[in-house]
C-alpha cells in the first residue's frame, strides 16, 4: 500500500473537490426539488409516507372514539364508512408499501456501496407520482368524497354509480397511479440489487436486507399488476357501463375478489418482509456476531414470497367456492407458517449465540416479534376454513390483521427509525424517550387489539359505525379505545423525539459499532454516497476487513474520482459481482417531476369525467417520456472506457442483457405481462361461470376467427422485423436495420387496426354482456400495446437517424426488441383466445 497514488493528500483533496462539485445538489426555491440523489429523494419519500401514516392514524382515533360507547353519534354511518376505507387504504397504499420503497431508496445504495441506484430519475418520478396520488386520495375526505367501500372495494356496491359516488373513482384511479410508482420502485430496486453491488459482493455476501428487498420487489411485479387489471375492468364498468361484475349482464363480483386478493395477500408479505429485513440488520449488530443461518433466511424470504401467492382465497372462504378449492388455499396458508417461523428462530438463535448489547432498536425488534407471533397464531386459526366461517368479517379478523401489521410492519419500522436515524441525520435519538415510547406502543397495541378477539367472537361485525349495548361488548370496546389513545401517545412521543433532534449534537460515526457497509456514512455526510467503491470479502466488512473504513475514506478502492464531472457508479455481474461497466447516472432534472404531473393529470381528470383534457394529459405524458428518454438515456460516451483504479478499466457503454437498461425493460414487461394475464384469467373465469360462453345473440357473435388471425400474423411479422433489425444492425447493416424498423412500425400500426377490426366488424356490444366486454378489453389492450410497439420502433429509427444509436452503441434497438418479445407473446395469447377459443368451447 506504500506506493499507492492515493497516498498523496493533495490528490485526495482534488478528487474530493471534483466529487463534491459533481454531486452538488441544485440550489434555489424550485430547483432544489429537481434533485434526484437518493439521499434527498429517499428522505422526502420517507417523510411523506410518515405524514400519511399520521393522517391515517388520526382517522383511526376518530373511529375508536366513535366506538368507545354504544349508540354513539360522534360521526355518521356514512362518515364512518369513509373513515375506515381511507384508514385501511392509506395505511396499505400510502404508508406501508411506499415506506419500504422510501427506506430502500435511502439505504440500498449505502448497503451496496454504490453512489446511487441505477435510475435516480425514475426514483424521483416515483416519488412525485406518489405525492400527487397520495394527496389526491387522502384529501378527498375533506370534501366528503372519500371512498367508502372498504379498502378492498367489493362490487356491486362500489361499481354501481347510484350506490357509491366519486369516492370509488378516486380510489381506483388515484391508487392506480400510485401502483405505477410502486412498479417503478420495483424496477429500480431489482436492478439496483442485481447489478449495482460492489466488486466482490457475490450473492452469498449480500446483506440480508438486499435479499429481502430483491424478493419483495419481485413480488410487487407479480402482485400489483393483477390489481391494475382489476382497476381497468372496474373503471370500464363504472365509467362506460361495460359489464364485468354485474350478474344481470353475465358478470360476477367474485372476479374482483380474485383479482384484488391475488394482489392483496402477497401485499401483506410485501409490507412484512422489509420490516423483517430491518431485523436482519439490527439483530447481528446488537448480538455482536454474524447472523446465524444465512441460507435459511434466504430460504424463508424466497419461500414466503412464493407461498404468499397461494393464499389469496383464504380471504374468500365464505364466497361459496368448492370446499376442495378452499382446502388448497388452507393448506398453503398453513405451509407459509414454516418459513415465517424459520426466520424468527434464526433471529432468536443469533441473539442466543451472541453477546447481546441491549439497545432501543433491539427492544423494538424483540417487542414487535412478540406482537407479530400473536398475530401469526391467530392467522393459523383463521386459515382453517371452518373457523374462518365463524370469525369472517368480525372484530376477530380486525384483531388478527392489526397484530400482524403492527408487529410485522409498524413497530419494526419504529425500531428501524431509531437504528438508522444516526445514519441519515448524524444524530442519535433519545434512548429514554425511545424506551418510554416503546412501552406506550407495546401496551397500547395489546390493549387496543387483544379485546377485539373477544368482541369479535361475541359477534361484533367489523365496519359497523356503532353497536347496541345488548351485544355485551361495551367493556371490550372501551378498552380498545383507551388502548388506541395509549398507542397514539407512543407515536406522539416518537414525533417529539424526532422534533428535538435538530437541537442535539452529532453522534460519533457508526454509533452502534455495526459491521455492514451502510455504516461507512459519516455524520457530516457528503452527497457523493461513498468515497470509493470497496472490494468486498465478507458479509460484515467493517468488522472483518482490515483497515476497511480508512481505505474507503482515502479513496483506495475503486472509482475514487469524478474526472469528467459526471455522476457515476459501478455495474457488476448478477452472481459474482464482477465489474462490468461505469454507469453514468442521471443528474438533477425537472423532467421526472413534470412527467409525474402529466401522468397524474390523466388519472385525476378521468376521475371527473373530463375525458378530452385527460387525453391532452396522456399526449403530454407520452411527449415527456419520449423527451426524457431521448435526452437522458443510452447516451454515447465521449470515450469508450475509463480507469477505475488498481489498473482496472471499464467500458462506459453496455447494451443487451448485461446492461441495466435492458433489465429495466425486461422487468417492466414482466409486470405488464402479469397485468395482461389478469385479464386473460378474467376471460376464462367467465367461461367457467357460464353454461354457454361465448353466448349467442345480437351483439354477442364475434369476433370471428378471420381478423384475430390477421392481427396475429401482422403482429408476428412486426416482431420478426424488429428481431431482424437488431441482428442486421449489430452486423453493421444500418440502412437495412432502418428499413426493417420502418416496416415493423407499419406492421405494428396494421396490427392495431386488425386487432380492433374483429370485435368492430362483428358488432360486439360491450354494454350488453360480459363476453363482448372482455373480448373488447383484450383486443384494446393488445392493440394499444401494438401502438406503443410502433412508437418504440419509430423511436429506435429516429435515434439511428440522429446518430444516437450505432451498431456499437445499440442499447435502444436491443431494449425495444425486449418489448417486442413480450408484445408477440401478448398477441399470440390474445388472438388465439378470442379468435379460436369460441370454436373450441
Amino acid at each position: 500500500m506504500s506506493l499507492h497514488a492515493q497516498d498523496d493528500p493533495q490528490l485526495r483533496a482534488a478528487q474530493e473537490e471534483r466529487l463534491r462539485a459533481t454531486w452538488k445538489p441544485p440550489q434555489g426555491l424550485f430547483l432544489r426539488w429537481t434533485d434526484t440523489n437518493n439521499n434527498r429523494v429517499g428522505v422526502w419519500y420517507t417523510l411523506t409516507a410518515f405524514g400519511f401514516m399520521l393522517f391515517a392514524g388520526v382517522l383511526a382515533l376518530i373511529m375508536r372514539t366513535q366506538l368507545a360507547v354504544p349508540d354513539n353519534d360522534l360521526v355518521s354511518a356514512n362518515g364512518f364508512n369513509q373513515l375506515f376505507t381511507l384508514h385501511g387504504s392509506m395505511m396499505m397504499f400510502l404508508f406501508a408499501v411506499p415506506m419500504f420503497e422510501a427506506v430502500s431508496i435511502i439505504l440500498l445504495p449505502q448497503l451496496l456501496g454504490a453512489r446511487d441506484l441505477p435510475f435516480p430519475r425514475l426514483s424521483a418520478f416515483g416519488y412525485w407520482s406518489f405525492l400527487i396520488g397520495g394527496v389526491f386520495v387522502s384529501g378527498s375526505i375533506f370534501f366528503n368524497a372519500a371512498p367508502d367501500g372498504g379498502w378492498f372495494m367489493y362490487p356491486p356496491f362500489t361499481t354501481r354509480t347510484d350506490l357509491s359516488g366519486l369516492g370509488a373513482d378516486i380510489w381506483m384511479l388515484g391508487l392506480s397511479f400510485i401502483e405505477v410508482s410502486s412498479v417503478a420502485a420495483a424496477v429500480e430496486l431489482i436492478v439496483g440489487v442485481l447489478k449495482c453491488r460492489p466488486p466482490g459482493m457475490r450473492l452469498n455476501l449480500m446483506p440480508l436486507y438486499a435479499w429481502y428487498i430483491l424478493v419483495v420487489a419481485v413480488m410487487i411485479l407479480f402482485a400489483f399488476p393483477p390489481l391494475i387489471a382489476g382497476d381497468i375492468l372496474f373503471e370500464l364498468e363504472r365509467l362506460l357501463g361495460w359489464s364485468f361484475f354485474d350478474p344481470a349482464k353475465g358478470g360476477d363480483p367474485i372476479l374482483w375478489q380474485h383479482l384484488f386478493w391475488i394482489f392483496g395477500h402477497p401485499e401483506v408479505y410485501i409490507v412484512f418482509l422489509p420490516s423483517i429485513a430491518l431485523f436482519a440488520m439490527i439483530v447481528p449488530t446488537f448480538a455482536r456476531r454474524h447472523l446465524l443461518g444465512y441460507p435459511w433466511i434466504v430460504l424463508a424470504a424466497v419461500g414466503t414470497a412464493f407461498l404468499s401467492f397461494g393464499l389469496w382465497v383464504h380471504h374468500m372462504f365464505t364466497t361459496g367456492l368448492p370446499k376442495i378449492s378452499l382446502a388448497f388455499f388452507s393448506a398453503a396458508s398453513e405451509a407459509v407458517a414454516i418459513p415465517t417461523g424459520i426466520q424468527i428462530f434464526a433471529f432468536i438463535a443469533t441473539l442466543w449465540a451472541g453477546r447481546v448489547v441491549w439497545s432501543v432498536p433491539l427492544l423494538y425488534a424483540v417487542g414487535s416479534i412478540a406482537i407479530f407471533v400473536i398475530g401469526g397464531l391467530t392467522g393459523v386459526m383463521v386459515a382453517i376454513a371452518p373457523f374462518d366461517w365463524q370469525a369472517h368479517d368480525t372484530y376477530f379478523v380486525v384483531a388478527h390483521l392489526h397484530y400482524v401489521l403492527i408487529g410485522g410492519t409498524l413497530i419494526p419500522l419504529f425500531g428501524g427509525l431509531y437504528y438508522y436515524w444516526p445514519l441519515i441525520t448524524g444524530k442519535k435519538l433519545s434512548d429514554r424517550i425511545g424506551r418510554t415510547a416503546f412501552w406506550f406502543l407495546f401496551a397500547g397495541a395489546n390493549l387496543t387489539f387483544f379485546p377485539m378477539h373477544f368482541s369479535g367472537l361475541m359477534g361484533m361485525p367489523r365496519r359497523v359505525f356503532t353497536y347496541p349495548s345488548e351485544l355485551g361488548v361495551d367493556g371490550f370496546n372501551l378498552a380498545s379505545t383507551i388502548g388506541a389513545y395509549v398507542f397514539a401517545a407512543g407515536v406522539l412521543l416518537v414525533c417529539i423525539d424526532l422534533a428535538l433532534s435538530p437541537r442535539r449534537a452529532k453522534a460519533e460515526r457508526n454509533p452502534w459499532a455495526a459491521g455492514t457497509l451502510e455504516w461507512l456514512a459519516h455524520p457530516d455526510d457528503e452527497d457523493w454516497g461513498i468515497r470509493s467503491v470497496p472490494l468486498i470479502e465478507s458479509r460484515y466488512p467493517i468488522w472483518d476487513q482490515k483497515d476497511f473504513v480508512r481505505k474507503v475514506d482515502e479513496g483506495r478502492f475503486f472509482l475514487p474520482d469524478a474526472e469528467e464531472g459526471r455522476r457515476e457508479t459501478i455495474v457488476t455481474t448478477v452472481l459474482d459481482a464482477r465489474p462490468l461497466q461505469v454507469l453514468r447516472l442521471g443528474g438533477p432534472s425537472w423532467k421526472p417531476m413534470a412527467t409525474a404531473v402529466a401522468l397524474g393529470s390523466v388519472f385525476i381528470l378521468t376521475t371527473y369525467h373530463l375525458y378530452w383534457w385527460s387525453l391532452v394529459g396522456a399526449v403530454a405524458t407520452l411527449a415527456m417520456v419520449l423527451w426524457w428518454l431521448w435526452s437522458g438515456t443510452a447516451e454515447i460516451p465521449e470515450k469508450d472506457e475509463k480507469p477505475i483504479g488498481h489498473g482496472m478499466t471499464l467500458p462506459l457503454y453496455l447494451s443487451g442483457p448485461s446492461a441495466s437498461g435492458w433489465w429495466a425493460m425486461f422487468i417492466t414487461m414482466m409486470a405488464d405481462a402479469t397485468a395482461f394475464s389478469g385479464l386473460v384469467f378474467g376471460y376464462f373465469f367467465f367461461w367457467t361461470r357460464h353454461e354457454d360462453f361465448p353466448p349467442s345473440g345480437v351483439g354477442m357473435d364475434g369476433p370471428g376467427a378471420f381478423w384475430p388471425m390477421v392481427a396475429l400474423g401482422v403482429s408476428l411479422a412486426s416482431w420478426a422485423a424488429t428481431v431482424a433489425a437488431r441482428e442486421v444492425h449489430a452486423r453493421g447493416g444500418v440502412s437495412a436495420a432502418r428499413a426493417l424498423l420502418a416496416a415493423g412500425a407499419l406492421l405494428s400500426l396494421a396490427a392495431v387496426g386488425a386487432g380492433l377490426a374483429g370485435p368492430w366488424t362483428t358488432g360486439l356490444e360491450p354494454k350488453l354482456h360480459v363476453y363482448p366486454a372482455i373480448v373488447w378489453t383484450l383486443a384494446i389492450w393488445t392493440s394499444a400495446h401494438s401502438g406503443v410497439g410502433a412508437i418504440c420502433q419509430l423511436y429506435a429509427l429516429a435515434r439511428s437517424l440522429a446518430g444516437r444509436t450505432t451498431p456499437r452503441h445499440d442499447a435502444d434497438v436491443r431494449n425495444i426488441t425486449v418489448y417486442h418479445h413480450f408484445l408477440a407473446i401478448t398477441a399470440i395469447v390474445t388472438y388465439l383466445t378470442i379468435g379460436l377459443f369460441p370454436g373450441l368451447a
Partner: protein, 134 residues
Amino acid sequence: MSEETPGRLHHGLRARILELRVTLWTLIVPPTVWAVHFLFCYLWVAISCAKMGGFPRFPTAFVAGTAAAIAVILASGVIAWVQARRPGDPPPHDQSTDTDRTRFLAVATLLLAALSAVGVAFTAAPALMLTDCR
C-alpha cells in the same frame, strides 16, 4: 468457472452434477414447481367442478401431476445436495469465492426443495380426503 479440484470425484453422475451451473434461476426451480402444481390443482378443480359438476376420486392427471412435481423437486434437491458438498475452501463457507457462492446457492436451493416438497404434499392432501364439489 469454479476452482474445485475433482481429486476425490469419480466419473459419473456426481461429477456431472458438480459441473451444472447454479444460478438465481435454478434457486427458484423448486418453489416454481410448487406454484405450477398449485395452479394446476386449483384450475383443475375449478374447471371440473364448473364444467363437469364433479371430479373423480383419483384422477390420473392429478396423480401424474403430483408425482411429476415431486420428481422434479426431488431431482433439484439431490443436485443441490451434491453441489452443497463440493470440495474446496474451509468452513464456514462465507468467503467471496466461487466455491462458497455455489455452496450457498446450493444450500438455499436444497432448503427450498424441502419446503416445496412439503408444500406440494399439503396441496395434494385435500384431494385424497374431499371428493365432491360442495
